[in-house]
C-alpha cells in the first residue's frame, strides 16, 4: 500500500500544482465529482473528446488563416467552439488564450490572429501533456488498487 500512498501523494501534488498554475480551474473539479460508480470513466471520456475536438479545431483554424482572403467569421466560430470546450473541461489557460484570440478576430487583425493561434496551440499542448500525465497517474493508482483521492 505504500505505492498507492506514494502515487496518491504524487497525484495530489501534481493536480494541486495544476490548479495553482492555472492550467485547470474549478470546472475540472466538478468533472471529477461527476465520476462515480455508474460513470467510472467519465473524466477520461470527456478529456479524450476534448483532445479530438481541439486537434480538429486547431487544424481548421490553421487552414482558415492560411487562406489568401481570411474569412474571419469562420475563424471566429472555430475559436468560439474551442473556447466553449476548453471552458467546459476547465482548461483555464486555453480558455483565456481563446478569449484573446476572439478579440483579435473581431478586430480582423490577421497578425494578431496568427500569434494567438500559436499561443493557443502552445497552451493546448501544455495542458494536453499535463492531462495525459494526470490520467496516467490515475490509471496507476487504480491499477495498484487504490482510490483516486478526492480534492474537495
Amino acid at each position: 500500500m505504500e505505492i498507492v500512498a506514494k502515487l496518491q501523494k504524487q497525484f495530489m501534488e501534481f493536480i494541486s500544482a495544476l490548479y495553482r498554475e492555472g492550467f485547470l480551474d474549478d470546472q475540472f473539479l466538478q468533472l471529477q465529482k461527476l465520476q462515480d460508480e455508474s460513470n467510472p470513466d467519465f473524466v477520461f471520456e470527456v478529456v479524450s473528446l476534448f483532445f479530438e475536438d481541439s486537434e480538429k479545431l486547431i487544424n481548421n483554424l490553421a487552414a482558415a488563416l492560411q487562406q489568401p482572403v481570411v474569412d474571419f467569421k469562420q475563424v471566429d466560430s472555430h475559436v468560439h467552439q474551442f473556447k466553449g470546450s476548453s471552458s467546459s473541461i476547465g482548461a483555464q489557460r486555453v480558455k483565456n488564450a481563446c478569449m484573446a484570440f476572439k478579440s483579435f478576430c473581431e478586430e480582423k487583425k490577421i497578425e494578431g490572429c496568427m500569434q494567438c493561434l500559436q499561443h493557443v496551440k502552445h497552451e493546448y499542448f501544455l495542458v494536453k501533456n499535463k492531462l495525459e500525465t494526470l490520467l496516467r497517474l490515475e490509471q496507476q493508482i487504480l491499477a495498484a488498487g487504490g482510490r483516486i483521492p478526492d480534492l474537495s
Binding site: D26, Q27, Q30, L31, K33, L34, D36, S38, N39, F42, E45, V46, L49, F50, D53, D76, S77, H80, Q81, G84, S85, S86, S87, S88, I89, G90
Partner: protein, 754 residues
C-alpha cells in the same frame, strides 16, 4: 445719222429750257456766275451735311419713331444737294453725259420731294399730338408723386405705431408702460407736453399721474364730471380740446400762445374684458385721460394721421395695462401659493417630527412600560397565592386590578397607534372558530354571573369549524364588545349569536359604502351581541367608535375603561375587511352590537402570495430526479458531454442533441426539461423555444426550457424571457447548482438566477 441729229435737236431744246444754263456769251455775268457757282457749292455742302447731322443725332437718341420720314427727308435733301452740285458743271460747256446726270438727279429729286410732301400730311398731326401726350404724362406724374407722398406718410405713421406698440408691450410693469407711452409719443410727434390723468379710487376725480416733462407731478386733480372730460370720454376718437381747459393747464402759462391740444380716452379694462369696441354702457367703465400738447411756438397743426396714431396708441396702452394687471394678479397668486407651500412644508416637517417623536416614545415606552407592569402583575399574583390577612388580600387584589387595567391601557394605546400608522398587520393562521367562541364565553361567564346576567351563545350550523384569520385579534374584538355588553347591563341577559352572512345580511343600510364581496375561499362571519343594558342615546351612536369619547351616562358609572376599546375594535374589524356598528332604541332599552368580518376557509384557499424562496432548504435537496427525462441541446461536443454527465450524476435520463433541427425532431412531451445552450452563434436557439411553446401549448405538460449561457449579458436574459423560457443559468454549472436548479424548476416551474 438721222437719230444723232434728232438727239442733238432734243438736247439743245433741253439746254434752252434749263434755267440753270447761263448764256456763255455774256462775259459781264462772270461775277454773277462766280457767286452762283460758290452759292451752289455751299448749298450742296449744306444739303449733304444736314442728313449726316440728322443721322448722327437720331442714332444718338434711342427713341425716334419716324425713321422712315428721316430717310425720305434725307434722300430728298441729298438729291437736292446732288442737283446743286451737278449744277456746278453746267455753268460752262458740258457734255451730254453731264446733262443726262443732271436730268436724272432732278427727276429723282422731284419724285422724292413729292412723296415727302405727301407723307408730311400724315405725320405732322402725329407729331403735334406727341406734345399733348407729354403734357398729360407730366401731370399724371405729378399726381402720383403726391399720392406717393401720402402713402409714405402713412407708412411712417404705421411704423411709428408699431414701434410705440412694441415699446409699450415690451414691458409688463404698469408704470413703465405708461411712462414709455408718454415718452415715445412725445418723441414721435414732437410734443410739448403729454400727460395722463388716472381716475382716483373713488372714481369721482381724475388725478394727474404721469407727465412727460415733470418726473413726479404734483397731485393735481380735477373732478370727473367736467363737460370737456365727458366729451372726450364719450367717443373713442381723439378730441381737440381748448388749451384753457383744466386738464390742459399742465404748464405754467408762459409768454407764448399754447399750441393745439388734443385729448383721448384710455379704457382701463378689467382682466376679462378685452373687447374695446363692444362696450354697452359708459357708466360702468373706467377711463384714463391722455392729453397731448403741441409745441406752443410753432404753427403746427394736428394732422389726421397723427390723430390716428394717438388713437391706436391709446388702445394699445389699454391692452398693455390689462396684461400688466393680469401679471400682477398672477404674481400675487404665485407668491401666495409659495407662502402657502412654505407653510405647508413647515407643517409637514413638524408633523413628521411629531410622528417620529411619538414613534420613538412609543418604541421606548412599549418596552419600558411593559416590563415594570409585567413585574407588578406577576409579583402581585404571586403575592395573592401566599397567606394574607383579609385587608392585605383586598389591597393586593386592588393592586392587581389596577395594574391589569394599566396594562390593558398601555396595550390599547400602543395597539391603536400602530393601527393608525397602518403598521399593524394581522397574524393570519388557521384556528378553531367554535373553540374561540366557547373560550370567550367561559371568560365572560364569571363576571356575568357575579352581576346575575345570563349569557348565551348560539352558533349557526353552517359556521365552519376551522377558519383562517387573526385569532388573537378576533378574541380581542369579541371580548371587548361582549365585555361592554356585560359592563353596561345591570341585569338581564347578553346573547351572542354568530352565523355566516348571506348577501342580504351583508348590507348594512347605515353603511352603504360597505360592500362585501364573498368569494370562493372566504366567507363573512356575522356576530350579534344583544344586551338588555342601559342602552345608548341615539345621538351618541356616531361617536361610539371615536377615540376617548364616552357618553355622559356612561361616565358616571365606574366604567374604568379607556374609551379606546371600541375604537380599536373598529380598526381591527376594518383590517379584516369588515364592518361594526351598534344599534340601540334608546336609553334603557338595551343595545345590539353587530360586526361582520371576512375569514378564510382552509383547504380551498391557495396561498395568495407566492413567497419568494431564494435559498432552498435542505428538504428540497432530497427530491429525487430519478428517471427525470431531460433533453440537452449544445453544439459543442465537450460541453454537451459535461452537461450530460452532470445530469446523469443527478439521476436524470438524458438525451443529447447537437443542433436545432435535431432538437425539434427529438423533443416530446415526455421530456420534462430542455437545457439549451444559447451561446451558440446565431439566434436559432430562441426559435426552438418558440416552436416548443407552439407545439406543446401552455398546459402543464409542456417541457420547461432553461437556457445555459456563458455570458451574463442582459440582452440574452431579455431575449430568453421574451421567447418564454423558464430560466437562465450561467455556465459553468456546478453539481450543487444544477441540483438546486432542478428542484426549483420542478417545484415552482421557474428559475431565475440573480
Amino acid at each position: 445719222m438721222g437719230s444723232l441729229l434728232r438727239m442733238n435737236r432734243l438736247l439743245s431744246s433741253i439746254v434752252d429750257s434749263c434755267n440753270c444754263i447761263i448764256d456763255p456769251q455774256l462775259p459781264a455775268d462772270d461775277l454773277l456766275m462766280k457767286y452762283q457757282y460758290i452759292s451752289d457749292f455751299f448749298i450742296a455742302l449744306a444739303y449733304f451735311s444736314i442728313p449726316v447731322e440728322l443721322i448722327y443725332f437720331v442714332k444718338k437718341s434711342a427713341v425716334f419713331p419716324y425713321r422712315w420720314v428721316l430717310v425720305q427727308f434725307g434722300a430728298f435733301i441729298v438729291l437736292c444737294g446732288a442737283t446743286h452740285l451737278i449744277n456746278l458743271w453746267t455753268f460752262n460747256m458740258h457734255t451730254r453725259n453731264v446733262a443726262v446726270v443732271m436730268t436724272t438727279a432732278k427727276v429723282l429729286t422731284a419724285l422724292v420731294s413729292c412723296i415727302t410732301a405727301l407723307m408730311l400730311v400724315h405725320i405732322i398731326p402725329d407729331l403735334l399730338s406727341v406734345k399733348t401726350r407729354e403734357l398729360f404724362l407730366k401731370k399724371k406724374a405729378a399726381q402720383l408723386d403726391r399720392e406717393m407722398g401720402i402713402i409714405r406718410t402713412q407708412e411712417e405713421t404705421g411704423r411709428h405705431v408699431r414701434m410705440l406698440t412694441h415699446e409699450i408691450r415690451s414691458t409688463l410693469d404698469r408704470h413703465t408702460i405708461l411712462k414709455t407711452t408718454l415718452v415715445e409719443l412725445g418723441r414721435t410727434l414732437a410734443l410739448e407736453e403729454c400727460a395722463l390723468w388716472m381716475p382716483t379710487r373713488t372714481g369721482l376725480e381724475l388725478q394727474l399721474s404721469y407727465t412727460l416733462r415733470h418726473q413726479n407731478p404734483v397731485g393735481l386733480t380735477v373732478p370727473i364730471q367736467l363737460p370737456v372730460i365727458n366729451q372726450v370720454f364719450g367717443t373713442n376718437r381723439v378730441v381737440k380740446i381748448s388749451p384753457n381747459s383744466p386738464v390742459a393747464r399742465l404748464r405754467p402759462t408762459g409768454k407764448y400762445m399754447p399750441g393745439e391740444v388734443v385729448a383721448v380716452r384710455v379704457p382701463l379694462l378689467h382682466l376679462s374684458n378685452f373687447q374695446i369696441n363692444d362696450w354697452p354702457e359708459l357708466s360702468t367703465k373706467r377711463y384714463a385721460l391722455m392729453v397731448l400738447m403741441l409745441p406752443s411756438d410753432s404753427a403746427r397743426q394736428w394732422h389726421v394721421h397723427e390723430l390716428e396714431l394717438v388713437e391706436v396708441v391709446a388702445d394699445q396702452v389699454a391692452v398693455a395695462l390689462s396684461h400688466a394687471a393680469i401679471l400682477e394678479e398672477s404674481m400675487r397668486a404665485r407668491d401666495l401659493l409659495m407662502e402657502q407651500n412654505v407653510a405647508l412644508d413647515l407643517a409637514r416637517r413638524e408633523a413628521e417630527m411629531a410622528v417620529r417623536a411619538r414613534n420613538d416614545f412609543l418604541a421606548v415606552m412599549n418596552h419600558e412600560m411593559r416590563t415594570p407592569m409585567h413585574a407588578i402583575i406577576a409579583l402581585s399574583s404571586l403575592l395573592q397565592e401566599t397567606d394574607l390577612t383579609p385587608e392585605q388580600r383586598l389591597m393586593v387584589e386592588t393592586i392587581l386590578k389596577s395594574s391589569n387595567l394599566l396594562a390593558t391601557l398601555i396595550n390599547d394605546v400602543l395597539d391603536l397607534s400602530r393601527l393608525e400608522d397602518g403598521s399593524l398587520q394581522l397574524d393570519i393562521d388557521t384556528f378553531n372558530l367554535h373553540d374561540l367562541f366557547r373560550e370567550v364565553l367561559s371568560l365572560i361567564k364569571p363576571i356575568a354571573s357575579v352581576k346575575k346576567l345570563f349569557v348565551t351563545l348560539s352558533l349557526s350550523s353552517d359556521l365552519p369549524e376551522y377558519v383562517i384569520g387573526d385569532e388573537k385579534r378576533l378574541m380581542q374584538i369579541l371580548l371587548n364588545v361582549v365585555g361592554n355588553a356585560v359592563k353596561f347591563s345591570k341585569e338581564g341577559s347578553v346573547s351572542i349569536s354568530a352565523f355566516v352572512a348571506k348577501s342580504d345580511s351583508l348590507r348594512d343600510p347605515r353603511a352603504p359604502e360597505f360592500f362585501a364581496v364573498p368569494s370562493e375561499n372566504h366567507f363573512y362571519l356575522r356576530v350579534q351581541i344583544k344586551d338588555t343594558g342601559i342602552g345608548i342615546n341615539p345621538q351618541d351612536i356616531p361617536n361610539l367608535f371615536s377615540k376617548f369619547t364616552q357618553s355622559q351616562a356612561l361616565a358616571t358609572t365606574n366604567s374604568g375603561g379607556t374609551g379606546l376599546g371600541l375604537a380599536i375594535c373598529k380598526r381591527f374589524v376594518n383590517l379584516m375587511e369588515g364592518h361594526i356598528w351598534i344599534e340601540s332604541e334608546g336609553l334603557g332599552k338595551g343595545s345590539t352590537a353587530i360586526f361582520i368580518i371576512k375569514l378564510g376557509i382552509p383547504g380551498r384557499a391557495n396561498e395568495s402570495k407566492l413567497r419568494f424562496v431564494s435559498k432552498l432548504s435542505e428538504n428540497h435537496m432530497q427530491m429525487s430526479f430519478q428517471g427525470l427525462k431531460v433533453l440537452v441541446m449544445d453544439d459543442n461536443g465537450v460541453s454537451r458531454m459535461v452537461t450530460k454527465g452532470l445530469l446523469t450524476h443527478l439521476g436524470c435520463d438524458v438525451t443529447t442533441v447537437g443542433s436545432r433541427d435535431e432538437c425539434l425532431r427529438v423533443v416530446t412531451q415526455e421530456h420534462k426539461v430542455v437545457f439549451m445552450d444559447v451561446s451558440m452563434p446565431g439566434i436559432d436557439c430562441y426559435e426552438v423555444a418558440v416552436v416548443i411553446h407552439e407545439r406543446f401549448g401552455k398546459h402543464q405538460g409542456r417541457p420547461l426550457i432553461v437556457a445555459l449561457t456563458g455570458n451574463t449579458d442582459r440582452v440574452i436574459k431579455e431575449n430568453c424571457m421574451r421567447v418564454g423560457m423558464d430560466g437562465v443559468i450561467l455556465k459553468p454549472v456546478s453539481v450543487d447548482k444544477m441540483r438546486s436548479v432542478l428542484s426549483e424548476l420542478l417545484e415552482h416551474g421557474v428559475v431565475l438566477e440573480s
